[in-house]
Point group: C2
Chain length 196, copies 2
């Protein structure tokens, strides 16, 4: 038991280091030596845990989706209003991708096509998470002529871009999400009167 725990800690430290470096420097710019140094290992030792650099990225990606999904579902519990649910998801999402040391940041920053041989895996993981947003947008009371697919894609783009411009001390995740939802929400109020 003690051995297992110690071993898990090592792997966790390794994944943490990889996540931080991948998210701040990008995949290609991060070397296995950078990661090794960051978690106190020798460069060759990483290969004891993962067969290669790509597998390490996939592992970070998986952990990122897992954490993102868990936190979002948690924020959604005990809430039924579709607009509030959307706002809560966005707040949680933004909150997680602005942390520099974050698994979530990797999913936003590293485009799947940056690693051709693992592209399919990464896209699948990404889609799994975005399915949550899809269901939230589907539940929104909107006029029939609104393209929900486009709305979803606009939302993803807008919130993910926060990672680029966000500065600590400025507008926080909750206010950002609130304003974004408010800007889109009026569509429902203005145009649904005649169609419902």
């Amino acid at each position: 038991m003690k051995t297992a725990t110690r071993s898990n800690n090592r792997i966790e430290t390794l994944l943490d280091s990889a996540a931080e470096l991948f998210s701040t420097r990008g995949y290609q710019a991060t070397t296995m030596r950078d990661i090794a140094e960051s978690c106190g290992m020798r460069p060759g030792s990483i290969y004891y845990h993962y067969p290669n650099k790509e597998a390490l990225l996939v592992a970070v990606y998986e952990e990122g989706v897992k954490r993102l999904t868990a936190r979002v579902l948690d924020a959604l519990a005990d809430e039924n209003d579709p607009w509030v649910r959307l706002e809560r998801m966005l707040t949680t999402h933004i909150g997680m991708i602005i942390e520099p040391t974050a698994y979530a940041s990797v999913i936003i920053r590293i485009l799947p096509d940056a690693v051709p041989s693992a592209e399919a895996d990464l896209v699948k993981l990404r889609d799994r998470y975005e399915a949550i947003l899809k269901s939230l947008v589907a539940a929104l009371p909107l006029p029939g002529d609104v393209d929900r697919r486009l709305l979803r894609l606009f939302l993803i783009g807008a919130v993910n871009h926060v990672q680029v411009w966000y500065q600590p001390g400025g507008t926080g995740p909750a206010e950002i999400a609130q304003e974004l939802v408010r800007l889109f929400r009026c569509t429902a109020r203005t145009q649904s009167e005649g169609s419902e």
Copy 2:
């Protein structure tokens, strides 16, 4: 004159190749050898035109901003309605970043912090272009409580993300821009009645 033209063609071919590779593979993943091969030069010959890889990226960035700005200003001419002006800019912008062989794509895809030593230059070029959007958003008739800075950042995020999900044959740039503006525009109609 003939020599100058020939020389310019060489540089243009070089920049074209660099732009295409940087935009499709990213900065780090593109090697000087890739670029050389793509434009029919020897790897060492690139250094006759540009001192290093970063200078090449900055040159592509500059050309990208120049082209983007020119096309957008052209699309804005002879149009006074602020909402239509915004829509035209977004249509033009989307149209340019979805071309795979595009200087514009580089500006969207390569984050300035991917090249620390040239970061300041790249941010400056990026800001110059985004100032246009800033002025368009400033001209929008919106209720006083709308955060125009956030609106601008949401728009940038939404349209730049198109590069990731766009597929030829699907919804075109004009329809995408139209729907995006329509979703935001209602804010003006719903909430400005009491404040204007």
